[in-house]
Symmetry: C2
Amino acid sequence: MSDSKFVSLDDTLQRHIPPEELREVKRILYGREDDHPLTFSEEATSLAKEVGVELKGYVFTARKEDLRRPRIVRVGLIQNSVDIPTTAPIHVQRDALHEKVSNILRVASAAGVNVICFQEAWTMPFAFCTREKFPWCEFAEDAESGPTTKLMKELAKQYNMVIISPILERDPNHNDTLWNTAVVISNNGNYMGKHRKNHIPRVGDFNESTYYYESDTGHPVFETQFGRIAINICYGRHHPQNWMMFGLNGAEIVFNPSATIGALSEPLWSIEARNAAIANSYFTVAINRVGTEVFPNEFTSANGQPAHKDFGPFYGSSYVAAPDGSRTPSLSRDKDGLLVAEMDLNLCRQVKDFWGFPMTQRLPLYAESLAKVVRSDYKPQLVREN
Amino acid sequence: MSDSKFVSLDDTLQRHIPPEELREVKRILYGREDDHPLTFSEEATSLAKEVGVELKGYVFTARKEDLRRPRIVRVGLIQNSVDIPTTAPIHVQRDALHEKVSNILRVASAAGVNVICFQEAWTMPFAFCTREKFPWCEFAEDAESGPTTKLMKELAKQYNMVIISPILERDPNHNDTLWNTAVVISNNGNYMGKHRKNHIPRVGDFNESTYYYESDTGHPVFETQFGRIAINICYGRHHPQNWMMFGLNGAEIVFNPSATIGALSEPLWSIEARNAAIANSYFTVAINRVGTEVFPNEFTSANGQPAHKDFGPFYGSSYVAAPDGSRTPSLSRDKDGLLVAEMDLNLCRQVKDFWGFPMTQRLPLYAESLAKVVRSDYKPQLVREN
């Protein structure tokens, strides 16, 4: 690595800023002076090397309580590229991703992960930029009984791990509709349920409203053996009220499986999931993919530029944020990675007690205000000079 | 300044990171590679020196439109310390702050500022840490006709500047109640109205619920000659739905006059107002005070530490964030400062059109959800394993 080449924010800070100042920078940027790295077993680190995945881990602690024991869980996230050409047969592409992620799951198991989440639509390239229906719709599968869920049920049971598997869903019980869906599988290998993406983008290369509609699944929170978890899929991270409802339903960890690129959103990436962790006193897990996906036919990006076959790299940079506003460094911007965060879930209620956001939230005011806003005859509260 | 001493994040980045890498760091951290500094007249810069205030300026542009002219305004914020001892008579303390801020307003006028906002409760030390009622309640004054509003009406007219003046309010028409209030004065020197703090903290040294209650003024947006503005006072920045309602009422710029200290909130400071700018497609102006305020009698901070007469420095770091997620660097952590942001308000609607957050916000879903949540028999949407 050249000394003057930008690779990532963390790398640049680490290389150039003297240790003492770096502690203050990290306190302000990441909410703690030290990264609190998690140490893994020799088995986990050598397996990570073998599989070819960057393994990083960090610890979040909480104060000891008298009446509750610590509730320590290890949460994992996987960011990865799609290596096989998008021209390969659909089943070949899907099986290659199954294999890659299954290998990383072995590392996660060795690293003691209890709950893991993959990136959005992880079994396929993010082909919605093309606006083509075929062959991409073939990636859709049944949430409860499709090949991906079948495989993940086996692995969840084998590894005693809760798996959140975000896929393109086909619902055969409702006229073959497509959905952008996260499937939740318990550590016993049982299908627990699913959540569908609440907010669908129509921006730049993210033409997803061409393929599927806004969710009809509300804001479910899944009560797993390792804590209460929820999923805010991708573009839903831009909507604070989406994050809020998962909190009001009791979530302690909210995953944000995403697929997003640099020019569009990189400066927002470190802000939104972290703000959600602060505002809702829960942990958030922000997951993006890496790599550049090249499609067979050219497409345009609605930005005045000529047609092309790819829209540039996904920037990875996945991270975990805590309810006290602290966060981990990011995974790389370009490499497959497994991030493991060990967290004491007791921190959520402790932060609620300390900051008092639930108490001071004034939900009745906002319930009343929103009920007025949605009326077609709503008049904004404007004050004019007399 | 020693070469290894931490003064601020911006200073450390500037001193240690090579220019080319710094551009990438700034792109990721601040949403743009270059700060886009604003150049001031010789008059403004020499006046700033004379007055003893750090003057910084930045520009936010928007694309040219065919049907609308650019709507360029200069927005100012003032962060300042309270220099006079808190043992001085109340009127002496207040008059000293009147004088200091009036002097900075001269600089703002020379810098072409159209709309300006001061820090929270700017006419007084932030004495709520003491939990003493006397003599601090004496700082409260009538929002419409108190001495501060009188003075600011004169200056607003003189400088053709909209002034947002956050004070401790006494309401004589409602049984002498106290409020934490922002008064809005038009550039014609007229009282336009007021907004009272919507969310009141009960955390650490911020015992404000001891003094005043949650607002009864809703989420007003003031339609000034220089754009539609609103005020989210201090702790209200932790509540995304508070920010949201100002946006739904049409705000283009939302000011967040604050008083907050390092140990409590410094890592959150750069996140919350900026997230609000992104989520609501408007500009936000985050204002904190500087300096350490020492009180006559000792008090405790509810953190197990011994009693003391101050709770450490306010960290300043005021900044402006834009609807596209970009932001200015911060003012210093310890010096009086005037930050001026020149912005084209057309950017707000352009960002709404581009990202589509208003369209994809699903307000009816949240109106319905919140109406259920506030019922005492609400059952969270929990999914359990069968």
